[in-house]
């Protein structure tokens, strides 16, 4: 199981990196989304995939038999919401860049002059 998930993460990373290396801003934004998802997945899987039990304890305070590690889940949960904030920020940043400079070519970022 680990192998197939690892390969999937690898594919996400490869695609994300390729998108990030583009000159067109829209593709770069997509790249950021993809990488943030892929990274969350890595952290989550660091807890192991053998067990798949839900992270709850019963009335006696005992965990379910095959509970997956709750700590990475807590980390990832906040990471997802922060990812939303970052995504929005990047989106607006690139939108403003486009509006101010009038180009969607990131190579033009060299020039600090406004339109």
């Amino acid at each position: 199981m680990e192998l197939s998930i690892a390969i999937f993460i690898g594919i996400l990373y490869a695609c994300g990196v390729f998108l990030l290396l583009r000159r067109s801003i829209v593709k770069v934004i997509l790249g950021v989304f993809v990488l943030s998802n892929a990274t969350n997945l890595i952290i989550f899987l660091a807890g192991g995939v053998e067990r798949g039990g839900i992270g709850f304890v019963n009335e006696n305070g005992e965990p379910a038999a095959a509970m997956s590690d709750p700590l990475p889940q807590a980390l990832v949960l906040t990471a997802i919401v922060i990812g939303l904030g970052i995504a929005a920020y990047i989106l607006v940043l690139k939108y403003q860049y486009f509006k101010v400079t009038g180009t969607h070519d990131l190579d033009q970022l060299k020039n600090t002059e406004q339109k």
Partner: protein, 928 residues
Amino acid sequence: MIRTLVYLLPALALLGMLAPPMTRRLGHIYGVILSAIPLLMMVLFLSFNTTLGDTQSVVYATPWQLVPGAPLSFRIDGLSLIFGVMVSGIGFLVLNYAAGYMKGHAHIGRFLMLMTLFMVSMLGLVLSENLITLFFFWELTSVISFLLIGFDNHLEKARKAALQALLITAAGGLSLLFAFLLMGNIAGTYTISELLDKGPLITHHHHYPLIFILLAIAVFTKSAQFPFHFWLPGAMNAPTPVSAYLHSATMVNAGVFLMLRVMPFAGDTMLWKTVFPIVGSVTMFVGAFLSFGERDLKRILAFTTISALGTMVLMAGLGTNAATKATLVFFVVHGLYKGALFMITGIIDKSTGTRDLMQLRQLWKPLRSVSGATFITLFSMAGLPPMLGFIGKELIYGAKLQSGFFPEVMLMLGIGTNALMVAISILIAYRLFWSRKAEVAPPPFKDKYPRLMLLWMGPVVLSAVSLLLGLTPNRIARYLNNAIYHIRAIEYDAHLTLWHGFNAELLLSIATVTLGVVIFIYRETVTRFITRINGVINRYYLPDLFDKLIKGYVKVAARQTNRIQHGYHRYYLMTFFLIATGAMAVVLFPFEFETWMTSASPVKTHIVILLAVMSLGMIYAMVSPSRLSAILALGIVGYGIGLLYLFFGAVDLAITQFLVETLIMVLFILVIDYLPAFASLSVRRSRRRDAIIATVVGVFVTIVVLEARFVNVVPPISQFFIDHSLLKAFGHNIVNVILVDFRAMDTLGEITVLALAASGVVALVNVGQKCQSGQSPMRIPPADTQSLRTLIIAGVVTWIRRVLIVVAVWLLLRGHNAPGGGFIGGIIAASGYVFYAIIFGSEPTRKKLRIPPFIIIGIGLGLSMLAGVLPMFMGEAMLTAQWLHLTLPMAGELHLGTPLLFDTGVMLVVFGMINAIVLTIMNVLKWN
């Protein structure tokens, strides 16, 4: 009493810093008032002479520490007394002189402030009891001298000279710091009293050569030794009071002071006794030699200072008892005459408008008040009886005769130097007072300056002291005894007399004076010779060389920066990815494919199918020519990941992922119409290159994920959370308990990040709007929404919004025990408003919200902080959960606690953030 002295330092600094406003009221008189403190300090210093006796020292440590283990502490012994008296005494005179000299200057306040601070830092330096304190004040003198030399900051020359002085002395300071750190490390202490008997430990350590080199660099740069001497003549760009003080008692003498201070525990070695004498004697001769070729009075004096400093370094380098005594006496001698001569130069400069020796003549009467002082001072410089200068010179000859270090060479250079000094003194006196012819007549003499008491007081007092000490030299014997006791660790009787009888020293003196007179008589030949040599030297003019060095350095740095900071976004990223993967490859080598390929857990078919679908979605998103289909395909990946979370038992995660993915897609689709279409900007070759890089990164990430399974650095702490979740935090939902209780501090940081992201978005938009002139007309929302509004949906949406709020609150309340919590609740509540905003536009939504989103974020952060702070009032650590246990008749046991308050805060922050972002973006798009 030492406490009074120590606390006078900050008092003086404070009064000095008040100078700019005070001089605006009181004018230059404030300088006179200010000078009362150094006068008081000098009296205090002098009173120590009797209490200290021949062997005592006093130490006072303030409660403040500069660095752990090194308090700001001070000591007084003979050495610090001699320097202290000179620094405060000449400081008193110089402040008065400066008040007169700068009278009416626009920046007299700044000048007096800097002079005072300079004095404070030099006093702190000579009083330091530990090396770190010493270093601190050492650097302070460098920095303030930079400001003083560059005081006329509208002149490029002054700025350049100041920068040069700073670069050179600061380099020395850096090397001093390293030397001190090494010494402190070896000896285990920075305190000078404790270091005194740790000498062998340091001098026999195998790092001693390094320590010595670092110390020597510090001394050479500060005390302007050859070949670092060139910053000192440049420093004469400062106003004359600065030169008078910098040359006589402060700054350049700090290097000599350092030598004497560290000699007990870092001196008396072969290196010490070889390097310092050689460099010192070279500097001594070169300084005197070059001064003879100059015409500017200030430059002449600057070069004689270099020569005098060379003498002191040479003497302190020889390091015998006699040589140490000679160093100290010569420091006093030099301070007295050099201070006076610079002040006189200042008066001449002010009165005649020139400092060119060849233009000056017949000044005996015009100079009036200071003519006598000039004469006496020049006597002292020439080393003639009955001045203290004579005694100093005799002592130096004596020390050279006794030393085993090439006495012949030393004496030859010494005689040459002193003869040149005699010749220069005669030349100056001749030019100023007797010479009848001048190359060019100076401008008319301004009579008022020599009459100004503030100006003539300094030279008169200094020359009087010089004469007095020459006649009764034994007054300073006890200072010397005490200083030599602490430097050389032996009781010493430094008996000083003017007349020693006929001995070798006297013969040498007579020879020197004779030679000096001969040089004076043949001065034109000598000057021509020196000028010719100067012509050769100037081809390698050190200040210019130094300038070139610095410029070249800056140029290389600029080129380097241009290469690294090229401005291409994607190449930055590429560099990062390549280096990161390279580092990973190094760490993972040799590759263990066998282990990575083994799967620990059984393959589940449904998950594999899901992964395949997501991969296809990802690849479709890459190749799709349309933005909309690309973002939808990415949605498949996002929701698929949510499903993965669900399969592996992370319910809360799955819910969050679904919600966030939806919101991101909504955001993207909102903006997409306003973003440019996909375009292939890169050429095929760079696309192929990027594909290769991306593939490599992907492969390595895969490997890292596989490898990560085998890395178990520490046993996971998760078990603790699992065990204590219900017992201590009264929650069944471990993930939520971790978020709001066990690791609430992290969560607090994360919601702060969310608040920042929201304000970042709003700030960015506002920046953009400033670029447009005025408010552009409101755009009508897309036609579809118009029709949407008219439908029943409008009513439904309002209801959905209300229902979602209720659901959100319910999720928040049950979050501790079941899937839910603040994050999820916040997103759900916000999505109701986002839905509403899409239908009705941003303005009506703002109205429905009533409270601006940023206020909501603020309230949320405030609630979470409150949950953190409340426990502190109960004497517990921040964020420790506090509980209230109730037993209700219907619902059974109920646990109410601060985590719920905390989670409510989280929910409000998330709710506010999403609203802020979405409404701002809609505003920008004129979706009102």
